[in-house]
């Protein structure tokens, strides 16, 4: 009984701490991204709020967005409109639960951690469609439809790709996968390590709806997509969820392909963060150098190219394991 209570307390306190850290990182992720984009485009990026280099910018942004008026369109479907940001934000935060930060430092070391991650990450499509439908705006509606089409198309290759490390190590438990990578990271496995990583990057980018696959919020044609009618904190939740998702997928990539906390000299959690940020910068780099793909091209790419390749990859990995 006592042990049960401690489990509950740990779940709440640990969850709160993890969420707090994640939100802090997310807030500064926006700053990192803006700085990165600035450098890529021969600009400076944020500078004046918190000189030098605008390190107070994220805090100023949060304060500003909290003070904004919360507008609910008159003809909106109130229930789905108001619930949608939560339906997007909460699953995005839940993604961090099974990720092992360091040895023994994991909120909930699920036996099926990888499957949990995949299941929860696809929940955000529901929230986005709710936002698109509930806004009662044509642009938002089109964006919601695009989101569902894209998520369904890329869920399949992503799952088929992420099964490969699990298959190789014979476990869905993320901490165990890291443990087993001590000898050599999954990325260094001949052939399947690299192909799986590439497929993961492509499918992951599309699943994240990051440029060049950001058709759901394609602001040049759909203005801002599903979030076009949102303002204030509700908009901030969508925004934060997007970055949380980005961070979580980078962390998952670091755990599955780059050996998680494994590394010499410095403490394990630092290695974990280094690898996560390496993947993050890779995604940002792709983001700031490609133009957007059209929706039919994305769906075609997913089904005609990525889907067969991921099946082939899985088959080869299966043969190697056998």
């Amino acid at each position: 009984m006592i042990a049960d209570i401690w489990t509950w307390i740990w779940a709440f306190v640990g969850g709160a701490i993890l969420a707090f850290i994640a939100i802090l990182i997310i807030a500064y992720l926006t700053w990192i991204e803006r700085k990165f984009a600035g450098r890529a485009q021969s600009r400076i990026g944020p500078y004046w709020v918190g000189r030098p280099h605008g390190w107070l910018q994220p805090i100023a942004d949060v304060i500003k967005i909290m003070l904004k008026e919360d507008i609910v369109p008159e003809d909106a479907d109130k229930i789905s409109f108001n619930l949608a940001p939560m339906f997007v934000f909460v699953p995005a935060m839940m993604l961090f639960a099974p990720i092992p930060i360091s040895e023994g430092l994991v909120l909930s070391d699920l036996t099926l951690g990888l499957l949990y991650f995949l299941a929860v990450s696809s929940l955000s499509a529901i929230g986005i469609f709710m936002a698109g439908w509930g806004s009662n705006s044509k642009y938002a509606m089109l964006s919601g439809m695009r989101t569902v089409a894209q998520m369904i198309s890329y869920e399949v290759p992503l799952v088929l790709t992420l099964i490969v490390p699990a298959l190789s190590y014979g476990s869905f438990k993320l901490s165990e996968i890291v443990e087993l990578q001590k000898g050599g990271w999954f990325l260094t496995k001949p052939f399947i390590g690299q192909t799986t990583f590439l497929l993961f990057l492509l499918a992951g980018l599309a699943e994240l709806k990051k440029p060049p696959f950001d058709v759901p919020e394609a602001e040049s044609e759909l203005v801002a997509g599903f979030s076009v009618e949102y303002s204030g904190m509700k908009f901030a939740f969508f925004y934060a969820a997007e970055y949380a998702h980005l961070l979580a997928v980078s962390a998952l990539g670091a755990v599955l392909f780059l050996g998680g906390w494994d590394g010499p000299f410095i403490p394990g959690f630092l290695w974990f963060f280094l690898k996560t940020f390496f993947l993050l910068f890779l995604i940002l780099w792709i983001r700031w150098s490609f133009i957007r793909v059209r929706i039919d091209q994305i769906i075609g790419f997913g089904w005609k190219f990525l889907f067969p390749l991921s099946i082939l990859n899985l088959a080869i990995a299966g043969l190697i394991v056998l």
């Binding site: 485009q41 439809m145 957007r292």
Partner: protein, 373 residues
Amino acid sequence: MREEEIVLSMGPQHPSTHGVLRLILRVAGEEVLSVEPEIGYLHRGFEKLGEASSYIGYTPIVDRQDYLTSASNEFAFCLAAERIAGIEVPKRAQYLRVIAAELNRIASHLVWLGTWCLDLGGALGGGTTIYMYCFRERERILDLLEEWTGARLLYGILQPGGIRYDLPRGFHEKAKESLELVLSRIDEYHDFLSGNPVFVERTRGVGVASAELCKALGLSGPIIRGAGIPFDVRKAMPYSSYEDFDFTIPTGKDGDCYDRYVVRMEEMRQAIRITMQALEGLPEGPINPRPHYRSPVAFRPPKGEAISCVESPRGMICAYIVSDGTERPYRVRWRTPSFAAVQAMRYIAPGHKVADMVSILGSLDPVLGDVDR
């Protein structure tokens, strides 16, 4: 109307309609069934303004018409006014006019490339990167023009009879340095974009304007050249000593977005070539046929009428003036290329996806000030 159809009103407040244009789209899912451009949000009555102001006073006003290529607007108006008055423009002024127009062409095409990539790639993606690069290079060109004319966008440098200011000291060296830099950067952009499979996929076969359609709609400029018709006013009806310069007219084959892109990129290189030649062969002499017009009403052409056409970065821009012998035109009429370009949306856009609307519109490169006048 079928059940799954919706009517999507794109604009007049929309991030990628390049100003205040409204496109009424009939959409079934992602596919666009019809497009109806609605214009007139930026009508400022330029033709009526012409009747109310003097010839000298009207030249800076026409700058505001197609605000990205103010030199071309002035060019067309001044040529028509000179044709009525029968003025021979000094050779040096002719060359200086060419330099102004060609520098302006480079700046305008750089804006086009940047904003078009913004449409394709989005303000939060790779599109912004090339946009920022384009504006960095445009800055060099604008600095040159600022040093010469004192203005960065609306120069007011031409006037009937000649040109207002001579080149400042040291302009030649600066211009050469900047133009060589821009030339190398254009190649860089070309590698960045046409080496990118996503870009080629988004633009090849999209928004095909056939040669027949171009002729039927009176399209001109890079659009008609992209369709394979080598029509350029600078070659077809040379004005202001364009026959002195050695340059080629780039043409495309299919008339799709990619061809228009290739044509405009090559046009920038040719514009740099022309400017270099004009700077090198700049003759000595006066820049005005007689001392400056000291008052705005000093220019009084005789009774008559004239039309003159010039090649602006967007195509053929024509000014038609009727003079009644006073210091004010009796009637001014403008023929602008963007007006024809916008109506082409109706014919080339249906059948494409919603995302293609902005890329097709961007590749037609309309300036709304030029459409509505």
